[in-house]
Symmetry: C2
DNA sequence: TTTCGATAGTTACAAACGAAACCAATTTGG
DNA sequence: CCAAATTGGTTTCGTTTGTAACTATCGAAA
């Protein structure tokens, strides 16, 4: 490789982005196809399903979304009556979000699909490759988390 | 972990996306800050810098961009006079794109910055972790490339 | 208290995006 | 040959996004 050339195919930011984009696009067919959810909506559903009641801020931190995305996703899920808001007693800026039964039902339906998707994807790797990707991602996450 | 719950933090599509988003956002400051480029524009520049003359279709394949993104990026780089189009002799639908001297200069300026960015990021990993991420990404790429 | 700075969440606006329609040129196959 | 399907590339339109401004509330400090 020449010194003054960048090989895009092996450039880490590009590889990561392309891979994430492909995987994410593939997976989005699951929740988009099933319920017409956007990614922020899916993540909101997943966050609340996993943790029960949360605030919008907590949701944003857990699922790495900007607060405007959270705000819009919450508004949409509320419109669908998949979640309800309850104002905090102490601090009236804060709202506690909880899935309704309908929301919970959708979540419970999605979980096995998500797990199957992941399993399917990982099944194409060898055991050693699975270890490698897990370790590599964890290392990068740690490196960025500072 | 309960069987009917999905742990978002360890869900592969989510981890990949979050990581790519963080890295990409960080790196975008390099080309956005330096020249006000968008990501498709940067990739177009990188593609042409790496390969010399290319068609729009080839660019899209090499850098994994939808053809509308390519079309818009090319239009903008042309507006900046960073590239020129030359119609194909044989097939008049095709255009061959080449960086001008100005475009080449910008590319040459970006390459070391990109390399430094990647080096900096990887320097936070151990040698073993670097091997792991390389191997893991390659395995996933291979798994998806079908 | 009153005021000033932070924080929770929403909204407005412009930029970026994707899907699909579109145009023009080319290839295919009857 | 000629109609139909394909391909390279652009445009249009509605949706999603990010930035920044905004509202409302709270906590701290004077």
């Amino acid at each position: 490789m020449e010194a003054d050339t960048l090989e895009l195919e092996s450039f880490l930011p590009y590889r990561l982005y392309r891979l994430a984009d492909a995987v994410s696009r593939e997976f989005s067919r699951v929740y988009k196809g099933r319920h017409g959810l956007t990614r922020p909506e899916w993540r909101t559903l997943a966050g609340l399903g996993q943790h029960g009641t949360m605030t919008a801020t907590a949701l944003g931190e857990q699922s790495a979304m900007h607060k405007t995305k959270v705000s819009r996703a919450v508004a949409e899920l509320e419109r669908r009556r998949w979640l309800t808001r309850k104002p905090d007693e102490k601090d009236r800026r804060v709202e506690h979000l909880t899935l309704t039964n309908a929301g919970l039902a959708a979540y419970r339906e999605m979980v096995p699909l998500a797990k199957a998707f992941e399993r399917e994807l990982l099944s194409k790797l060898s055991a050693g490759e699975r270890v490698a990707i897990a370790e590599g991602l964890a290392a990068l996450e740690a490196a960025l988390g500072r």
